[in-house]
């Protein structure tokens, strides 16, 4: 691990540090003595950066921005990591098995992937949230926790075809290698061949795309919030942006702060994804 860090260039190192910091905030942020993110300070509405008691200022409603960034990291990264992790797992498994089996299963799976990929991420996510987040009684709003789960499910569906196609493509390049035939000629079961021979070779391609997918999901969460179907009433980066969208000119820092945090996180993810791809591709070159 330390070895990997040492091989990074400056930008990748900064990205890694940033992602570590955000992850630490998501996990341990509640330990930091900060104002409650959902309690407004009536005496400090639209406070600027570095105001006393509000390091990053407040928005027009008097909510502390630093506290929202720190506590929002939990929701936003939870959504990102779970949907990418789960979507990546399901997508890769389906992609690898389809590519290994070929035939009708592969045809069905790749057609399914292509259909999902033909719909823009945001439209697909929006449609899924709209369908899933209908409560039986329109007068009762859907609880914030349930909204988070719905968004995770929707974004998982968005991620599955992205990772699935990468995994399928990578599997197809390895499936006809002689070592796969050699493993079969030793009497290995399909399951063992996939786990021992295909997966270790496909993983590098998946790792780098996973990071890119985290960036995609963080942006999608923000965009869904802005469209009014995200974690609107909860604490997340997307919710911060959505809440202040109307009063942007009145307290500009309330928009800049979450947008900069989201942007830096997405850039860091992309950078790390690129670094990993370059790093892991070496192996193929060295065969």
């Amino acid at each position: 691990m330390r070895n990997l860090f040492a091989q990074m260039n400056l930008l990748s190192k900064l990205s890694a540090v940033w992602m570590a910091l955000m992850t630490a905030l998501a996990v341990f942020g509640w330990l930091i003595p900060l104002p409650d993110p959902r309690e407004y300070d009536p005496e400090a509405s639209a406070a600027g950066l570095f105001s006393p008691g509000h390091l990053l200022g407040t928005d027009a409603g008097g909510y502390d921005l630093l506290s929202n960034v720190v506590n929002g990291a939990r929701t936003s990264l939870l959504i990102a990591f779970i949907s990418v992790g789960f979507g990546g797992l399901v997508g890769s498994a389906v992609g690898i098995i389809a590519a290994y089996r070929r035939g009708r299963l592969d045809y069905l799976v790749s057609t399914g992937f292509n259909i999902l990929l033909s719909i823009p991420n945001l439209v697909l996510g929006l449609a899924l949230v709209a369908v899933l987040a209908t409560s039986s009684d329109p007068s009762v709003p859907i609880a914030s926790n349930r909204r988070v789960i719905i968004i995770i499910i929707a974004l998982t569906v968005v991620i599955i075809p992205i990772l699935g196609r990468i995994a399928r493509g990578a599997t197809l390049t390895w499936i006809n290698r002689e070592f796969v035939v050699a493993a079969r000629s030793m009497g290995m079961r399909d399951k063992d061949i996939i786990v021992r021979h295909i997966v270790p070779n496909v993983l590098p391609a998946i790792y780098s795309v996973l990071f890119l997918a985290v960036g995609v999901v963080i942006v999608a969460e923000g965009a869904l919030s802005l469209l009014g179907v995200g974690v609107v009433d909860g604490v997340s980066w997307g919710a911060m942006i959505a809440r202040v969208a109307g009063e942007f000119t009145y307290a500009p820092q309330s928009m800049y702060v979450p947008v900069v945090v989201v942007a830096l996180t997405v850039i860091a993810c992309n950078q790390l994804g690129d670094f990993l791809r370059g790093r892991l591709d070496l192996r193929e070159g060295r065969i």
């Binding site: 002689e178 070592f179 035939v181 050699a182 009497g187 063992d192 021992r196 060295r286 065969i287």
Partner: protein, 328 residues
């Protein structure tokens, strides 16, 4: 002696957009217990497809296989896929042409080597490790323990092929298919690997099918030879019989095309002009007619049958060579 592998009327076709590609046409061959059989032919003659089809390793929706293959008195062609798989490793194993691609690049030698013993023989980790070390010493690799922790890219071609052989022998197969095991290696290493295979075959009392395009290799390392051309066996005989009493012009042409160290400097190398007939559109006559220096009109129109010349010698030619050719 009984046959360990008996191939009867094996036909392999591939469905292609241009029509049916016939890769192997009506091949019958018996491999005696404990013997070493060479399968010779130029690139594209169907040697590799034939050996993989015999083992049941060809997969894909475009493969059409007919005929029967009996291994160890069991009919492979009638078995379910998982029953055939149970014959692999312990019954049959294969060594591949290119040791660069036949090893998994991202896994250590030790884990690839212990896979067979662990999965097929049910050994625990420790026993499998001991077996791996034993196998590496069997294929004469120095310092086998250090080898276990290496990745394939850290090894030379010859070392990789030794590792491949060790993997194939891991579960003590009764029959070993060696598919051009030395083609990707340089000449000095070739000789070592072939000698190693011959020694191991005797030590382990194993039968071997040696697929190659080199008649010189066949002469030194086999008991019986089948010459393939355009998906058919065109001549088969015990090795000594073949070299002393060659019948098929194609076999002779193959032998002549081996460069000789004592030929005059500047002399042109003997080649077989032309190329193999289109496998999607086989000629009606003899497949070799267009390239044969003894060709007659009959060869172009009528397909020659396999003729038995006695002593287990079969050939497929209307006008066989009458004269005797000395060995080399």
């Amino acid at each position: 002696m009984s046959a360990i592998l008996s191939i009867r009327k094996l036909v392999v076709n591939f469905e292609t957009p241009r029509g049916l590609l016939s890769a192997v046409r009506d091949v019958s061959l018996e491999i005696e217990q404990g013997s070493s059989v060479g399968i010779v032919g130029e690139s594209g003659s169907g040697k590799t497809v034939m050996s993989r089809a015999a083992m049941g390793l060809l997969s894909g929706s475009t493969v059409r296989r007919e005929g029967t293959v009996m291994f160890d008195d069991k009919e492979l062609t009638a078995m379910r896929a998982d029953e055939v798989r149970d014959q692999f490793g312990t019954g049959m194993a294969m060594i591949f042409q290119d040791p660069m691609t036949a090893l998994n690049p991202v896994r250590r030698i030790g884990s690839q080597l212990s896979e067979g013993p662990r999965v097929r023989l049910g050994m625990d980790k420790k026993a499998a490790r001991a077996r791996s070390i034993e196998l590496l010493s069997l294929v004469r690799i120095p310092d086998p323990e250090a080898m276990l922790n290496k990745f394939p890219f850290q090894l030379s071609g010859g070392m990789r092929q030794r590792v491949m052989i060790a993997i194939a022998l891991a579960c003590k197969p009764k029959l070993l298919f060696a598919d051009e095991p030395t083609t990707a290696l340089d000449v000095t290493v070739q000789a070592q690997i072939l000698q190693l295979l011959s020694d191991l075959r005797r030590e382990m009392n194993m039968s071997m099918v040696l697929v190659t395009h080199d008649l010189g290799v066949v002469a030194n390392h086999t008991d019986f030879v089948a010459v393939m051309y355009a998906g058919e066996i065109v001549e088969q005989a015990p090795t000594t019989e073949l070299f002393s009493n060659m019948k098929m012009p194609y076999t002779e042409a193959l032998l002549k095309s081996i460069p000789k160290i004592d030929s005059a400097s500047g002399a042109r190398m003997a080649v077989i002009e032309g190329r193999l007939p289109d496998p999607t559109d086989r000629p009606s006559g003899c497949g070799f007619a267009a390239r044969c220096s003894y060709v007659q009109d009959k060869c172009r129109t009528e397909h020659p049958p396999l003729v038995d010349a006695g002593n287990g010698h079969l050939y497929r030619c209307w006008y066989p060579l009458g004269h005797t050719i000395g060995r080399k």
